[in-house]
Symmetry: C2
Subunit: 310 residues, 2 copies
């Protein structure tokens, strides 16, 4: 299958790196899942564990670790992966709630029954909500293990809370719900996705960078990179919804059109959407350079975002 940017598809070297990173993230997630459900009644622990075991690209935690590595080259301590797993927990909560009958009403997530389809909407709502404070606890424990400066520890919690809250992901989901069945402008789509996807992607990067001791200017650079690739990521998702096949997507293809959501291909055409994604990737890489950040890894991930086929 041809990659979206018209360039060669994801290189074998990058694919191997991403796989290795994904394995370490998954191991960290399995570890922190035990911590996340500690003290929970069995009937709550079960849907929480099920949600945390949802397969995924793990793009957010991989970005978090890559941001750390940009400032602290060399071996990455396991605790950094737990820090990164906290970000994935917040992402997981959002998937659980987005799929609820009162939201997108989607019975399938990544080829498995959605949490509400398996455990009912009450347990899904509770399990999703319980993941938010669990993520905060996992983040703070990892930060303590990494012995980050005390002021930074508070800043990490605030980063995650802001991105996962009203000004970030939750606000984006609300704008997205409201826009269904109505014509949307490019400006509104950007407002939706900068909150729904961009905020947590940028927070993942900022959290890795903050923990590694990045400066304010460096934080601003990784934020700009994160916001740009976050939007590119969403544009590519929209394109794949039109051009992809269900087996590789793990979800219903063509769902955007049937649900009446405005998408980038609907606004700009497939080719126009691809060009927009490619130019955002270029912006993301420029932002890193402008901030004096040399990270072949972050650059490769930016290209992967548009070159992926699922």
């Amino acid at each position: 299958m041809t990659a979206l940017s018209g360039q060669p598809p994801v290189s074998p070297a990058l694919a191997a790196t991403l796989n290795a990173e994904r394995s370490r993230v998954n191991a960290a997630l399995a570890g922190v899942a035990v911590q996340a459900v500690a003290g929970a009644p069995a009937a709550l622990a079960e849907p929480m564990r099920y949600a945390l075991a949802t397969p995924g690209k793990r793009i957010r935690p991989i970005l978090c670790v890559s941001a750390w590595r940009a400032f602290r080259p060399g071996d990455v301590p396991d605790a950094v992966y737990r820090l990164a797993a906290a970000v994935e927990i917040v992402h997981t909560y959002s998937l659980v709630h987005d799929d609820l009958p009162c939201m997108d009403d989607d019975p399938v997530r990544r080829g498995r029954p959605a949490v509400h389809a398996k455990f009912g909407p009450a347990r899904a709502t509770l399990a999703g909500a319980a993941l938010i404070p669990a993520a905060v606890q996992v983040l703070d424990a990892a930060a303590a293990e990494l012995r980050v400066k005390a002021a930074t520890r508070g800043a990490l919690v605030v980063e995650l809370s802001r991105a996962g809250g009203a000004a970030g992901m939750v606000g984006g989901q609300l704008l997205d719900l409201e826009s269904e069945g109505r014509p949307a402008t490019a400006e509104l789509l950007e407002r939706i996705h900068s909150r729904k996807t961009g905020a947590l992607l940028a927070a993942a990067l900022r959290i890795g960078a903050l923990a590694a001791g990045a400066s304010e200017a460096e934080l601003a650079a990784v934020s700009a990179y994160g916001e740009a690739i976050g939007l590119a990521f969403q544009i590519v998702d929209d394109v794949l919804d039109v051009t992809g096949d269900e087996a590789s997507l793990g979800k219903t293809a063509g769902k955007d059109e049937s649900s009446g959501k405005t998408t980038y291909p609907a606004l700009f055409g497939i080719d126009g959407a691809r060009s927009l994604a490619a130019s955002l990737v270029a912006d993301a890489i420029s932002a890193l350079h402008a901030g004096g950040i040399h990270s072949p890894e972050l650059e490769a991930i930016a290209h992967y975002v548009v070159e992926r086929t699922s």
Copy 2:
């Protein structure tokens, strides 16, 4: 109306103190509400603000401030009330979600339409979830203002997250939902309410005490006090549901029986439930004394918990 303990009803002096405290808490809540909805789209900010304006006894924030005062007598800085308001935000989120159609399906909360009844279940679910990270941000900002020690600042966030999460409030709500329509034992009722009510009440006290610099032994004492009055509070709620009138309760009386929930009066009779609540209050006060804590205010609040008529 006779008070539940058979003692004189709430004294005019305590009633005046509680009213004054409630006013300061409400002022703090109104202030932090602005912070909580910052950056949120209007359609999300609206249900969040509506939820935060739900009238209430403010027992949790009042306990938080009283715990602070037990260790730092004298004028209480405004930031302590904002710290306390963070606890009330978590309580507020739980009310929003508990009332949802997929949970208790209650259209009325404190004499007003429940959030989902006014804004629909999607906006209510999102607004409730957004209150959790908002509470974390409000807590951390208040802790920073109070210049609490860096290690304590992390501990405060962990306290609130633990109480508001799977091992605390959310776990309790799940057990409560599961117990509906089934006979419950006293042991199960205690498991439910120690999580659903006790955990956040104890956290409110621990947060006030931690911020004020209490020792481990003092923290253990306020925890034991909080857990005991938390359970007493719930028992009295159950009794008032049977004996109270709707106007003073602000909710449907007799609702527990019609919803098939097992309650303390159902297990122990009205008088048995009252005695149990009174003995828990005695335990709570003993715990304070055993921890060397002299706080006429916390003792008076313990009595108020059983003497209140609404």
